[in-house]
């Protein structure tokens, strides 16, 4: 199954700017992206619309991990999904050049909380993205499919277009 | 914007009427709308546009052209709305308002 994630260049730049902001204690920031979906002849398009930035006090100080967010963050994302009939994609940044990938803790933790979004939107896929300075990667959990699917393509639409990752 | 009550008034003709807004225009999807006698097919998905578009104050679109007793000018063909294609005959000057009344005015063309 091919999944193509698309967002505007403006949204991408806004997300990266937000994720680059220093935090009092978290080593990394995170956020959520509200998305809509459609099918195409090559698979599924995930279309990003709204970025949910997490305020500083929605993070939990936990030395074991670079970024831990609290239940308020999850509630905000779930509320968005419910209100807007949207898929939710978690997003964070590895601020280097080149293709990023998820750390083992990233994958382990994502596998725990991403499926929680099915509590509000059980028929929609949800997932997670990791951005770098010039590329991106993602995983998508489809309903009733246990293992996440690697997002095939990630495109930032704008002037100029940025093909951020995966097979074009 | 139709109320929930106004949507439910449509149930005898089409179970599950639902409102959609696309690019600022208000539509009511009417699944399997039951058409007047003599129409073929007897029921078809329809889309009632309650907003002004293309020179019509309201318009009734169908998932396919309908064969009826009257010769109608199907001047809207393969119109893309809500990522489906629709067809409509020319039946103008039906003002927007209560959906059941707007629908009745448009269906007059098929009687």
């Amino acid at each position: 199954m091919n999944v193509h994630f698309k967002l505007t260049v403006a949204l991408l730049d806004g997300i990266v700017a937000d994720l680059r902001r220093p935090h009092p204690f978290a080593a990394e920031r995170a956020g959520f992206i509200g998305c809509k979906l459609t099918k195409c002849s090559t698979g599924t398009l995930v279309l990003a619309h709204t970025y949910i930035s997490l305020p500083d006090d929605w993070y939990v100080d936990d030395e074991r991990f670079g970024c831990v967010f609290n239940s308020q963050a999850m509630r905000a994302a779930m509320q968005f999904a419910l209100t807007n009939d949207a898929s939710i994609f978690h997003v964070h940044l590895h601020d280097h050049s080149g293709l990023p990938w998820f750390s083992r803790p990233d994958i382990r933790e994502s596998a725990q909380y991403i499926p929680d979004f099915w509590n509000v939107k059980p028929m929609l896929p949800h997932g997670t993205l990791v951005l770098s300075a010039d590329a991106a990667a993602g995983l998508c959990w489809y309903p009733e499919i246990k293992k996440p699917i690697r997002i095939s393509r990630i495109t930032a639409v704008g002037f100029p277009m940025r093909f951020l990752g995966g097979n074009r | 914007m139709p109320t929930e009550g106004e949507l439910r008034e449509l149930d005898p003709l089409s179970g599950g009427a639902k409102e959609y807004v696309e690019f600022g225009l208000t539509y009511i999807l009417l699944p399997e709308l039951r058409l007047p006698n003599g129409c073929s097919p007897a029921a078809v998905d329809a889309l009632l546009c309650l907003s002004q578009r293309d020179g019509y104050p309201t318009r009734l679109f169908f998932a396919q052209p309908i064969a009826s007793k009257n010769g109608l000018n199907w001047n809207a063909q393969n119109v893309a709305i809500l990522q489906r294609t629709w067809f409509a005959y020319s039946w103008n000057y039906v003002a927007s308002g209560r959906p059941i009344e707007v629908l009745a005015q448009h269906l007059k063309a098929l009687r």
Binding site: T38, L47, Y142, F159 | D54, R84
Partner: protein, 266 residues
């Protein structure tokens, strides 16, 4: 295919690979679209979706690039002509020749990275823009008109609808009154005058805009999204309307409900 694109290497180290991997849609393979198909093949685009239900015929042979007298005699589908043109340059190109109205194959349209709109009429343009916006696909629209009068006058435009940026309605390219007027017209509007050279100018400009979108060779000028063509003076100019609205947030396609499939089923 070695060295075919060596003279366009200034477009970037990986531009060949990028262009070969992109899938473009061309909606309408008539006077404008046939030029687009030809030029994009020469450019090195590797994947094409062509949409047009129409056939080559004698009245359109004067402007359908790639079509032959034999095609007019045989009424070869325009998408078949375009496919043949592409494959004559790049036999490895992937071509989806969709001989129907584009509204009957949304799935194939949505799979395109960029769409070229080469249609007649504002209603068709508005619908195509709406569908492209739903799939977050940039749309490059071209069109020309021969204005009847004494004397005649030729004009045209290349207009880009880029998700997140002002749309056709924002820049005044598609107006409610034009849609209303078209909607009230009964039956087919009839054949408007059409000529090959203006279509060529506009198609070439659109291809240049497309290349800038993917592999810019210079800094992108803000005006390169609405270019007006004066076919009598032979000039291309940035349309002043874009300057006025370029900082305006598009309100026509801003809602989340305007994205994706309203009837999504997993």
């Amino acid at each position: 295919m070695k060295d075919v694109h060596v003279r366009q290497s200034f477009l970037g180290e990986h531009s060949d690979e990028l262009l070969a991997s992109v899938r473009i849609g061309v909606v309408g393979l008539g006077g404008g679209g046939s030029h687009i198909a030809q030029q994009s093949a020469y450019l090195g685009i590797g994947r094409f979706a062509f949409f047009d239900p129409d056939f080559t015929d004698f009245p359109n042979l004067n402007r359908t690039v790639g079509a032959t007298l034999a095609d007019a005699n045989a009424k070869t589908p325009k998408v078949a002509v375009a496919e043949r043109v592409v494959k004559s340059v790049n036999p490895n190109a992937e071509v989806w020749a969709i001989q129907t109205e584009w509204q009957k194959d949304f799935d194939s349209l949505r799979a395109c990275d960029v769409v070229f709109g080469c249609l007649d009429g504002f209603s068709q343009r508005a619908q195509l823009e709406e569908s492209c916006r739903r799939a977050m696909t940039p749309l490059i629209d071209i069109g020309m008109d021969v204005h009847k009068g004494d004397p005649y006058s030729i004009s045209g435009q290349v207009v880009v609808s880029m998700p997140g940026l002002p749309c056709f309605r924002c820049v005044g390219f598609v107006r409610a009154k034009d849609l209303d007027e078209e909607g009230r017209r009964y039956g087919v509007a009839g054949g408007n005058p059409q000529v090959v050279w203006s279509n060529g100018v506009l198609a070439s400009t659109a291809i240049g805009v497309f290349v800038q979108m993917l592999a810019p060779w210079c800094s992108i000028r803000n005006g390169s999204r609405f270019i007006g063509y004066d076919g009598d003076a032979f000039t291309l100019e940035h349309d002043a309307r874009l300057t006025v609205v370029s900082q305006v947030r598009c309100e026509h396609f801003s809602s989340i409900t305007d994205l994706g499939d309203p009837f999504w089923k997993a």
